[in-house]
């Protein structure tokens, strides 16, 4: 466990090294990035191997930072953080593998990339609201540069939209946290202290603070109707950035909702609970329908991400240990599956064919030209549809079982999303890879073969989704005890109807 804070330092150090190495040679920067990402992942796995699940955050480091304001550099972890850190390590590693072909300003690219990873790790480890916010901001800034410099279609617009949304979201979070800080009157920024003080807040304060903080985080989680940054951002981003965006950054938002907004302001949460659930359901169905008619391949995946994150939010809104456990599992699962889908579309297909229009792809016998990509995409699509054998199935099943306990009608409405997901995924599979082949000469298109980093990355992600699909307890054994901590316990017994 004590190795976890090192993930932050390793990532930041790696960022600097990549910058230095990039000045010498591109290959050096790549190797540095890969080693850094592997180290981060290795550290999380090492921590996981010695992890004893407990019903509380386990302190890792807790020293004063700005004593005058009661701000502490307080890092702590529980099973939820650990799950997301392992995901971050995996996403970071595979992201580097899928960016192996980046040729422009490689050092800078990986420096920004690793800085983003460091920020994300920091968020997942922070037990102090201020520290969490600082890491959160650190994670947002590199995104802008990654998209604006290395992105594709409409990249400046996408980057700008994403960053404006992110900053708007973080402004809301900051406002809510500052308000709570002021109202708590000297309790400082520690999450536990704030939660303790929040029990004395008035009803109105609780509602207001919850609305600010939750909305702020939910923007980043892609909650309907604040989701429009996600598809455009994904489309504009370079492959590795889309993978991180969908795989990890959207999880930051959901994690913030679960770690900060809900336990700190349970009264506010109880008030808004039905609204959140219905917005989540709307997101599941709405984004699914939008995905059904997209002509840009990446837009299909982008909207599917919004739809899947709807399940996460629904699981949180249902507010019981089962649904919330499912939500965290879904965060992991979606992180892996979305990463895989973006990798196929962005790296394996787009960078070879230079088009993402389904109409163009339909005319290419892609399943013959790049069969590996076709197989991976079919498997990832099946996983995305929630087919048994892949991680999406136990995750969505657990969310639905838990949601049914709270309110059967919510589960009823959300289950329709499974059907829509099948419809848009099958359409994407058939049109993109298995279009009309007989008209086109295979030799007319010469595509470079799939490289080893792509294969390695795809296999890692596929392995993860299948392993968790067969054996979800591997993660749930960490997650469940964390949800039994007093803070969550109060939330789940008091908040739910």
């Amino acid at each position: 466990m004590n190795a976890l804070p090192c993930t932050i330092y390793v990532a930041f150090t790696g960022a600097l090294l990549a910058l230095v190495a990039g000045a010498r040679s591109a290959q050096a920067a790549r190797v540095v990035a890969l080693l850094t990402a592997l180290t981060v992942w290795g550290l999380t796995l090492y921590a996981a191997s010695g992890f004893v699940p407990a019903a509380a955050l386990q302190d890792l480091i807790n020293i004063p930072w700005i004593p005058e304001l009661g701000i502490r550099y307080h890092l702590a972890a529980d099973g939820i953080s650990l799950t997301l850190l392992v995901l971050t390590g995996l996403a970071a590693t595979t992201g580097v593998l899928f960016s192996w072909n980046i040729g422009e300003r490689v050092g800078e690219f990986f420096a920004l990339y690793l800085a983003l990873i460091g920020g994300v790790c920091g968020v997942f480890l922070s037990a102090d609201a201020f520290a969490l916010f600082v890491f959160y901001e650190i994670a947002i800034v590199p995104k802008y540069f990654l998209i604006a410099n290395w992105g594709s279609t409409n990249r400046e617009y996408g980057a700008m939209k994403l960053v404006l949304y992110s900053f708007a979201g973080s402004a809301l979070v900051l406002a809510g946290v500052l308000w709570a800080y002021a109202a708590a009157d000297g309790a400082g920024f520690g999450l536990a202290q704030l939660a303790e003080a929040a029990t004395r807040f008035t009803h109105v304060q609780q509602l207001g603070m919850f609305a600010l903080v939750f909305t702020g985080f939910a923007v980043l989680a892609g909650m309907f109707p604040f989701h429009t940054w996600a598809p455009t951002g994904h489309v504009a981003a370079p492959t590795a950035a889309s993978m991180l965006l969908a795989g990890v950054v959207m999880k930051l938002g959901a994690y913030g909702c679960l770690r900060v907004a809900m336990p700190l302001f349970p009264v506010g949460f109880a008030f808004f609970q039905p609204a959140i659930a219905w917005l989540a359901i709307a997101g599941i169905l709405y984004a699914g329908f939008v995905a059904l008619v997209q002509e840009d391949f990446k837009f299909v995946i982008g909207y599917s991400s919004v739809s899947h994150m709807g399940f996460v939010l629904l699981g949180l809104a249902a507010a019981n240990a089962t649904a919330a456990g499912g939500a965290v599992l879904q965060m992991f699962s979606h992180g892996v599956i979305a990463g895989l889908l973006f990798a196929v579309v962005g790296r394996m297909v787009y960078e070879r064919t230079h088009t993402r229009q389904l109409a163009d792809l339909r005319a290419m016998p892609l399943h013959r030209l790049i069969p590996f990509a076709a197989v991976v995409f079919v498997l990832a699509g099946l996983a995305s549809m929630g087919l048994p054998g892949f991680s999406g199935f136990p995750a969505e099943l657990t969310i639905l079982v838990g949601t049914w306990q709270t309110r059967p009608l919510w589960a009823l409405a959300a289950a329709g999303g499974v059907l829509v997901a099948a419809a848009f995924t099958l359409r994407a599979i058939q049109v993109s890879f298995f279009g009309k082949v007989e008209r086109v000469e295979v030799n007319a298109h010469h595509l470079p073969p799939i490289t080893w980093p792509e294969k390695a990355g795809a296999l890692l992600l596929l392995g993860a989704t299948i392993y968790i699909g067969l054996c979800p307890d591997a993660l749930l054994d960490w997650i469940r005890p964390a949800l039994r901590s007093p803070l969550f316990h109060a939330l789940f017994t008091g908040g739910a109807s």
Partner: protein
């Protein structure tokens, strides 16, 4: 030697391993993939026989082996395997039919470039189907249910370069998933209500008395909980078993290679819905004791089944594609099975399921043999005269047809259909389903006579049919074996010695009825079959079709009716115009909303921000700077340079930031003041 329940998982595991071998084998590893698939299937078949022996030793027992999958947070989600006569008979049937169809496929798919994949997918299907059968948990059954759906998707779309095949695969998957949605909801409800999804668990399973007693309370709408859950689960069966109103996918599924149609869309997967209802039969009947409910679950099952039986038979009359005729016949026969379930005789349903699996697999393989020999000609109007060219196919196909039609005494189909008619006749709720079933018998005899006459008699009506030659032993041997089964299977459940029924019901002793009991009904059905065959022969047999373009004699007499039936009564168009339209409209609406409303709002805000920036900048230049300038002019100092630095966007941003900070501060103060 018997197979213990804890080793039951081996039965699906063997084909799964074969699928893995098929997936990993190189493209040239054709023999390896096919050999692994056939070997694994033979192994599964032997194990299934051993399991059957174990189940028959104590037919009343439900032997279970349960284990935890993962923890839901309030208790483990448990899965398990179940061994009882129902499972064992299904296992033997699935493994045996699969084995024969695998062997047939080595001949039928010989020229296909993706031969290896074909066997990989087939093995995957067999694994999932066997897993479905041995499951002791509704969840495990659902998991396998989804996987057979996936395998079916992959195999219908196997020739995906044909747009019709790709479309059919998608249609099948989505349509069955509509039903699966109901299944999933029933499962969630049951899990919430019972806390377990195990069928049998030493008294704690949801099919056992203690749990069923909890399910009889009434909902606000007047239905019992068990009725509601039962009907939701039945939705899944409606989708998978091609029952009205979700039957539309099954005929389209014939786009797949013919062995696939035989195995998945005739013998096994489509019968899974019938098996499912038979499996959860205690749940389905839990509401029977309640008198004050508006409807019983089984009543719905019976009416849907009877209607589908009639509908399928009617539409089959006007089809011209040999496989489509058989497909609608499957829809119809599945309807008979559902009818049997609905009227209370699940044993009759399973008997018909088993006999149907053999004779329908035989008919499809026979059709495959014809299609293979006739260079993929499937239109019966263009066939003809094959009785002389393909003797084995002809004879076995004829046996299969007689079983399907229900030619008396010798054929298995006769006895199983007889059992269903008998049960429907004795149903107290309504006699309508019985009449529908009786009418269906006539129609079945009619369209099958037509099929035989047009395909095999007369002279060839196309080049392809003229060049047809009998296929090799890989294809004819399975036909012969299946034909033998189609006849001999009647022996296991004769009314005078109903061995199968007794075992399924868990009775050690077999108590038969005297042969003349129910002879009146039997006589009626003999007359009905004779009537159907006679009509068919009068129209199609006496004066054989002269050429492929000649008008159908029935279409001459009733053109409107036949056109409507040929068009499958317009269900596809109806769905396209309603559900399809609605779906497309919703998708477009959501897309427009996203692009213009939400997206527009964001763009508007961004534009507003830019506009504010512009305004502040202008104000800066004109008023503030102007002020500074005048001051600097007057002071003639460093003011000039100072103001220069402050122009431009940075200033505007800073100002907005400051404004935000002020608002924030106000909020903080506001909060602190309380």
């Amino acid at each position: 030697m018997t197979l213990a329940v804890q080793h039951l998982w081996l039965i699906p595991a063997l084909p799964l391993a074969a699928a893995a071998v098929g997936a990993l084998a190189p493209r040239s590893g054709r023999t390896l993939a096919a050999g692994a698939a056939i070997g694994a299937m033979a192994g599964s078949f032997i194990l299934a026989c051993l399991a059957l022996a174990g189940a028959l030793a104590d037919p009343a027992a439900h032997q279970v082996f349960n284990f935890a999958w993962f923890d839901l947070g309030f208790g483990a989600l448990r899965l398990g395997f179940l061994l009882d006569p129902l499972t064992a008979f299904m296992c033997v049937m699935v493994a045996f039919v699969s084995l024969l169809i695998f062997i047939f496929s080595t001949g039928y798919m010989k020229e296909d470039a993706n031969y290896k994949q074909f066997f990989c997918f087939l093995s995957l299907f067999a694994a999932a189907m066997l897993g479905l059968v041995v499951a002791n948990s509704l969840l495990l059954l659902f998991v396998c249910w989804e996987l057979v759906g996936l395998a079916s998707y992959l195999l219908i779309g196997f020739w995906f370069h044909k747009p019709s095949a790709a479309a059919a695969a998608k249609k099948a998957f989505i349509t069955t998933r509509i039903g699966d949605l109901g299944f999933l909801l029933g499962l969630l409800w049951l899990q919430d209500n019972q806390g377990t999804l195990l069928f049998y668990d030493g008294g704690a399973g949801f099919l056992e008395a203690a749990a069923l007693a909890n399910l009889s309370h009434l909902l606000p709408c007047g239905l019992a909980v068990s009725t509601a859950i039962g009907l939701l689960i039945f939705c899944g069966a409606v989708g998978k078993s091609g029952q009205f109103p979700l039957h539309v996918w099954l005929p389209d599924a014939m786009e797949g290679p013919t062995p696939v149609s035989a195995l998945i869309h005739a013998a096994t997967m489509v019968a899974a819905g019938v098996f499912l209802i038979a499996r959860v039969y205690p749940l389905m009947t839990a509401d029977q004791a309640l008198a004050n409910v508006p409807v019983h679950a089984l009543t719905v099952v019976a009416f849907i089944g009877a209607f589908t039986a009639l509908l399928g038979a009617l539409i089959a009359v006007a089809q011209n594609d040999i496989k489509r005729i058989l497909a609608f016949s499957t829809v119809s026969q599945l309807g008979y099975m559902m009818l049997a379930l609905g009227v209370g005789s699940w044993v009759a349903a399973i008997f018909h399921l088993l006999t149907h699996a053999f004779f329908k697999a035989l008919l499809f393989l026979g059709a495959g043999s014809v299609i293979h020999a006739a260079h993929h000609e499937q239109d019966i109007r263009a066939l003809g005269g094959l009785s002389k060219k393909m003797k084995v196919t002809y004879l076995t196909f004829a046996l299969g047809t007689m079983a399907l039609v229900g030619v008396p005494l010798l054929f298995s189909g006769f006895w199983s259909k007889e059992a269903i008619l008998h049960a429907a006749h004795g149903w107290r709720v309504s006699h309508l389903p019985f009449y529908a079933a009786v009418l269906g018998v006539v129609l079945t005899a009619f369209y099958n006579t037509r099929l035989m006459a047009e395909t095999f008699f007369g002279s060839p009506r196309s080049e392809n049919a003229a060049h047809a030659r009998e296929n090799g032993p890989a294809m004819t041997l399975p036909l012969v074996i299946l034909a033998a089964c189609a006849v001999l299977l009647s022996l296991v459940n004769l009314p005078s010695y109903p061995w199968l029924a007794a075992k399924l019901l868990g009775e050690q002793e077999v108590r038969g009825h005297p042969i003349f009991e129910g002879a009146g009904l039997m006589g009626l059905s003999v007359v009905l079959v004779a009537l159907g065959v006679g009509l068919g022969w009068a129209l199609y047999g006496r004066s054989l079709r002269a050429n492929s373009a000649a008008k159908d004699p029935l279409a001459v007499r009733a053109p409107g009716v036949i056109a409507a039936l040929a068009n499958r009564l317009g269900f596809d168009e109806l769905y396209a115009a309603t559900v399809g339209r609605l779906n497309a409209a919703l998708a477009t609406l959501a897309d427009v909303l996203d692009r213009f409303v939400w997206g527009g709002a964001v763009d508007f805000l961004a534009a507003l921000g830019q506009f504010t920036g512009l305004v502040t900048r202008e104000t800066d230049e004109r008023t503030l700077n102007g002020g500074f300038d005048t001051t600097s002019d007057k002071l003639r100092g460093a003011g000039q340079a100072y103001s220069q630095a402050q122009t431009g966007e940075a200033h505007g941003y800073l100002r907005t930031l400051a404004l935000g900070f002020v608002i924030l501060l106000l909020l903080v103060v506001l909060g602190g003041a309380r």
